[in-house]
């Protein structure tokens, strides 16, 4: 009961976030975090309710799968959005000192100098 309420409230927060946030990237971040936690709580409540081995195995499989794939999907869609040139929010602080090139097929990571 408690877990189910927590999960439903988290999904409501996610929906409000996706409706009210000013920018695509903030929308994406609040969506993924709240939705994974909300669905995880609801499925955990389901495992506690049935208290069966088969059901809890399925529940853990779903939660594991969701927790693995949801950040990957969010990363892919945000990378696509960044490449296709969707502008940031006007108050977003961009750190100019960090050089990260995103969007090319050949991504070069700068090699760190080895300390002797």
């Amino acid at each position: 009961m408690v877990f189910c309420t927590i999960g439903a409230v988290f999904i409501l927060i996610a929906s409000l976030g996706i409706y009210r946030m000013p920018d695509f990237y903030t929308r994406l971040s609040v969506t993924v975090k709240a939705s994974t936690l909300g669905v995880g709580c609801i499925l955990a409540s389901l495992a506690f309710y049935f208290y069966d081995f088969a059901v809890s195995t399925k529940v853990f499989a779903i939660i594991f799968f969701l927790f693995i794939t949801s950040p990957v999907a969010a990363f892919m869609i945000s990378r696509t959005a960044y490449v296709s040139g969707i502008e940031l929010w006007k108050n977003t602080y961009v750190d100019e000192d960090v050089d990260i090139e995103i969007g090319e097929e050949e991504e070069e990571t700068p090699e760190k100098p080895l300390n002797p």
Partner: protein, 96 residues
């Protein structure tokens, strides 16, 4: 108030309200990626609604549907991002 009544009258309306709000964002979304993310969130909260239905009707076999739905959400988001990415690359190549 039993658990079934609590789920039926409090938790399910919250989930349905959140679905309606996400649908508003889906209809409103200024860019395609907004719609893709809203669709992903709709499917993810559909998984949650299926979980609540399992408790309501005391039937655990709906969980298979939830598992397949989570798989489809991930695959659709990945496919959408690939599609948008390749479309933009083709467009820039043509412009060049």
């Amino acid at each position: 108030m039993s658990l079934q009544q609590y789920l039926m009258y409090i938790v399910m309306p919250i989930l349905c309200l959140s679905l309606v709000i996400i649908l508003l964002r889906y209809l409103k979304g200024p860019k395609v990626v907004d719609r893709a993310v809203a669709l992903d969130l709709i499917i993810t909260s559909g998984v949650g609604i299926i979980g609540v239905f399992c408790i309501l009707y005391n039937n655990a076999s709906f969980l298979d549907v939830a598992m397949i739905l989570a798989l489809i959400a991930f695959l659709s988001t990945i496919a959408f991002s690939y599609y948008l990415d390749n479309g933009d690359n083709n467009k820039t190549n043509k412009n060049e």
